[in-house]
Assembly symmetry: C2
Homo-oligomer: 171 residues x 2
């Protein structure tokens, strides 16, 4: 109701001086970068898919908001401010029905969520110290700790010449 | 211009008797099921991701139109008429930058399109002989041959108890 009142007030050009409402539990911001989970990100369009081996062993999808997908398709670099890229991941499970049909492991499918959900948020000024990107990881909807967030940029620097983005758009 | 005229005529409630325009090259229908490539399918939302080994060896994504995604999320079975599920696939490429950083193969990413694009279209009456599903495969935008389309249903019958759908929604 308060939100509706504010929207109506905003629409009418009225400025209301109101303290920010406390964030719900699943909207707590990440350390260092202060990022919250973007609303509706699971509905975003697909940029790419990947499989990680080793300690991660997952299947993953890269989704993007409209700014991200547009830039990914056009090859716009650096990505514009407002870009948000989401990395979802799931366990890497053999599909039994398929293995039976083929007589050998054939299909591996996404199972339960794994390795958290990650976001990269572009704001060239706010995140100037880390290539213009803010990094966020949420495990079960809760922000990962500061050590996790301190490690992001060092790895993404490997692909500095691609604006710090590992993925490529899958057409 | 003809299309605009028809739309305007339709909006005005005028019926025009006109032969169907010839379909452009990339809109030719598949054998058996008569399916054309659905417009804008690359913008559809993500249902699942998978990796195929063996002769296929690819990374793939399952996208769905709104009816498909809604049903996939709610677990609605059988899928309602109007459901369209798209299967995209790409080559399975090691990411060199990642292998260097980890000192071993670590990340595999989607490369060039591979193994065509496939669609399953639900119409319980029209496709009653094949579980209510029409099957379509397009290679480089062109329908695959009849033999390819004859093989689809036999394999999908393995998962008859899941309404002939191998994939599961990745949350």
């Amino acid at each position: 109701m308060k939100r509706i009142a504010v929207v109506l007030a905003a629409a009418a050009g009225i400025v209301i001086d109101m303290p920010p409402a406390p964030a719900p539990a699943d909207e707590v911001a990440t350390p260092i970068f202060g990022i919250t989970i973007p609303a509706g990100y699971r509905d975003w369009r697909l940029i790419a898919v990947a499989h990680e081996e080793g300690k991660l062993t997952d299947l993953r999808a890269i989704l993007g908001n409209d700014i991200a997908v547009e830039a990914a398709r056009l090859g716009t670099r650096p990505f514009p401010d407002g870009t948000i890229i989401a990395r979802l991941a799931w366990s890497y499970d053999p599909l039994e029905e398929s293995s039976e049909a083929f007589g050998q492991p054939q299909s591996f499918v996404a199972g339960a969520p794994k390795n958290g959900v990650q976001f990269m948020v572009k704001d060239a000024r706010k995140y100037a110290a880390t290539g213009g990107w803010g990094f966020a990881q949420f495990n079960d909807g809760k922000p990962a700790n500061e050590a996790v967030h301190n490690a992001c940029f060092a790895c993404h620097e490997i692909v500095k010449d691609r604006d710090f983005i590992f993925n490529r758009y899958a057409p």
